[in-house]
């Protein structure tokens, strides 16, 4: 793990500015990749150390700030001074003048003492929960001083109730759930916040193998479909998909709420003709030779949000430092999970009983995107599931439009106000920045879903533009 913005301040060859033509090893190796020159790409002068832990990273940030301060933010004079005296010597000179260790400790301390270190975080055993789960074996929680038990939960209703009861400090949820809970749809209204999205994409429509010849949704009249929860992207995406094909999801097909683990058994028993569910249960249906993957949800909406990391407003107010540490661990783990090169290792780590309890090859097919589709083909879709923590406000607005479209909520909505109160984009952005990632500068954007434009500034017009709707 190296971060460009965190160059070693005691290395004279390294610019802390990374301008064009910068000669630091990272910039050179990046440029040389572009030119195809291979000799320069080898890291001839490695960093003093690789920043493998966040602890190191934070130390580096603090050192860098001090050194820049000493040289009055003049990078040229810092580098020429270091060139004359040498990095190691400068470090020891400055070290004798400035108590680095004390400053580092003080800065870390100023982030505040953790009000609560022993936490319970719930998760539903699906691949969407990867960051929440992986933060455990990878030690992201403990790195930030937290002792977290990740607890497997039977379904979304239980996850919601255990969160509302305070048994879980925070929980894996579906992106529409904190909105519904805050609005009091389906439960008593409780202010909930969603500081990060877990995953994007990663769901699929699975049909029973008997329906291999019915690939056109127009042939699905009378089908029984399963979705994991009413307030789920699964429900809204399935409704959107069939409605775009001219079927009314409330009249032409039947949609039932089925907890994800029970999807495959119900498909086998013939209680369902298909489902739009989280993985690994799509791939598991293929593995069991019961179903095939009709489409991935990324074909409906590329980059759609799915699951979320959420906690009560009360938790963030009562334990601000704990909340901040927890959020950092999650953002870190989410970025870790997003890297393709980590996916095989992750598959092996989350397959056992303590986490997903699934055959490892099933998880690997989901996470690497090289999978059997159940129709005789092997597909290669590296972003079949992806992980991106940023909670776009426009995602919340889209979800609200669908909740209203299908009659889950009624009346006038202050879309932006609700979105901004529940989806804490600024918190996620701040943590991303702190950890050296670049958050987006906007929090709203437009989407194209099955070729139809969603304009976040005109939610009501968007709802009214659909022929099939419940209002």
């Amino acid at each position: 793990m190296t971060y460009k913005s965190l160059g070693d301040p005691f290395n004279p060859d390294q610019s802390l500015l990374h301008e064009k033509g910068c000669s630091c090893t990272q910039c050179i190796s990046e440029n040389s990749k572009a030119c195809g020159a291979q000799t320069l790409a080898t890291e001839s002068k490695p960093d003093r150390e690789r920043l493998d832990t966040t602890e190191d990273m934070m130390d580096r940030v603090i050192e860098s700030t001090i050194v820049r301060g000493v040289f009055a933010h003049n990078d040229f004079s810092r580098r020429s001074f270091l060139g004359l005296v040498g990095g190691g010597l400068t470090a020891s000179i400055l070290g004798s003048l400035i108590p680095f260790d004390e400053i580092k400790a003080a800065v870390k301390d100023s982030m505040g003492k953790l009000e609560k270190t022993k936490l319970n975080v719930g998760f539903v055993p699906i691949t969407c929960a990867t960051p929440i789960i992986m933060a455990h074996p990878l030690g992201f929680y403990s790195k930030y001083g937290l002792d977290v038990d990740v607890i497997k939960t039977a379904g979304w209703a239980v996850a919601r109730d255990k969160s509302l009861a305070g048994e879980y400090d925070a929980s894996h949820m579906l992106t529409p759930m904190p909105l519904a809970m805050s609005l009091g749809a389906g439960s008593a209204p409780t202010p909930y916040v969603m500081p990060t999205v877990e995953n994007i994409n990663g769901q699929a429509i699975v049909l029973h193998v008997d329906h291999k010849d019915k690939r056109d949704p127009k042939q699905w009249k009378g089908f029984k479909f399963g979705v994991p929860f009413e307030y789920s992207m699964h429900n809204f995406l399935l409704r959107y998909y069939v409605a775009e094909h001219g079927l009314d999801p409330d009249k032409d097909i039947q949609i039932r709420v089925v907890p994800p683990p029970e999807m495959v058994a119900n498909l086998r028993a013939g209680n369902l003709d298909g489902y739009l569910s989280p993985d690994p249960f799509n791939q598991r249906a293929v593995w069991e030779k019961i179903g095939f993957i009709h489409i991935l949800t990324k074909e409906i909406w590329e980059g759609h949000p799915c699951c979320a990391f959420a906690c009560s407003k009360e938790f963030t107010n009562r334990y601000p430092n704990t909340y901040s540490a927890l959020l950092k661990a999650i953002v870190d783990a989410t970025h870790y999970s997003a890297k393709a090169e980590n996916r095989i290792e992750i598959s092996a780590a989350i397959a056992p009983k303590n986490y997903l309890n699934q055959p490892e090859p099933v998880i690997r097919q989901v996470l690497t995107g090289r999978y059997a589709d159940g129709l005789g083909g092997i597909q290669d879709v590296p972003d079949r599931i992806d992980f991106d923590p940023f909670p776009w406000h426009s995602m919340a607005v889209w979800i609200l439009t669908q909740m209203k479209r299908w009659g889950y909520i009624k009346g006038d909505l202050e879309y932006n106000k609700i979105a901004e109160a529940v989806y804490l984009a600024s918190d996620a952005g701040a943590k991303m920045k702190e950890l050296g990632y670049t958050p987006p500068t906007e929090t709203y954007k437009n989407y194209t879903i099955m070729g139809k434009e969603f304009d976040y500034t005109k939610p009501e017009q968007y709802i009214n533009s659909f022929a099939i709707r419940r209002m």
Partner: protein
């Protein structure tokens, strides 16, 4: 060797067992793979066209593995079968004892005073048939604690048989015994403990046996719903993985523990019956 007719049922049931298990084992053997699998077949989990029910040998091997280390603890979501059963037993016994603590005295009062019986009967009749699991969402919402909610569900399902049986047993204590007690000028309290309680004890214990049987059935369903720990969670977790070997093993364990609970109470009731 002398032929002993008493052994005949045993021999027949053993033969039946072997035939049943043998044909199950034989019918669920996967065909031997003849060629190396293609990548697609590997990704599909083998060349077979269907998933199979596990053979009994797989269940026995699994049972042996699980029972040889029943108390391992590999994190909050992965604990040995012994620990899971202990959690379930703890919940069942807590809920059951709480129910007994309330049901038996209330049943006594209802049984002794026909007025109380008439007054309480409508409530009992309405509450009794409610499926215990239907209480779960309400309990979770009000108690705000899944552990206590599970115990509450056990409590509510085991209270009715004990209450009704106690009332029935007490009401049917022979009048002449009570009259004998009266002539000996025993106080009401002493009459209750020395005459009525022993006389009604067998009926009360029958109620307790019914209750614990129901409680053990309900805990599996309740834990499947609430999760976390217990044999019900174990079943759910293995179902999640569609691991029938483990599910069959768990079903056997549930049966064995349920039978043991029943045996304990039936031996207590035999002991009580001898007292008469």
């Amino acid at each position: 060797m002398r032929y002993r007719p008493a052994l005949r049922p045993l021999i027949i049931s053993l033969v039946f067992l072997f035939v049943a298990l043998g044909s199950w084992e034989w019918s669920s053997q996967p065909p031997k793979a003849t060629e190396a699998l293609s990548e697609y077949e590997l990704l599909m989990g083998g060349a077979e066209q269907e998933a199979r029910v596990p053979p009994p040998s797989a269940v026995i091997i699994h049972a042996f593995n699980e029972l040889s280390d029943p108390f391992y603890d590999a994190g909050p979501n992965d604990k040995g079968i012994g620990i899971q059963l202990a959690y379930s037993l703890y919940r069942v016994l807590t809920g059951f004892l709480l129910a007994a603590l309330i049901a038996i005295p209330c049943g006594f009062v209802i049984g002794m005073f026909p007025v109380m019986h008439k007054a309480m009967n409508p409530y009992v009749q309405i509450l009794k048939p409610i499926s215990p699991l239907a209480w779960m969402p309400l309990a979770l919402f009000i108690i705000k604690d899944s552990e206590a909610s599970a115990i509450f569900v056990i409590f509510i399902c085991s209270i009715w048989p004990m209450l009704i049986n106690t009332a029935f047993g007490v009401a049917n204590v022979r009048k002449d015994w009570i009259n004998v007690a009266r002539t000996h000028e025993l106080s009401d309290m002493r009459t209750a403990f020395t005459v009525i309680l022993p006389a009604a004890a067998p009926t009360i214990l029958t109620g307790m046996r019914i209750s614990i049987g129901i409680a053990w059935l309900v805990i599996v369903a309740a834990e499947m719903l609430v999760g976390g720990t217990g044999i019900g969670y174990y079943v759910w977790n293995e179902w999640n993985n569609l691991d029938l070997t483990s599910v069959i093993f768990a079903i056997m364990m549930i049966g064995i523990v349920g039978m043991m609970l029943d045996l304990i109470l039936s031996s207590v009731s035999r002991w009580v019956a001898y007292e008469e």
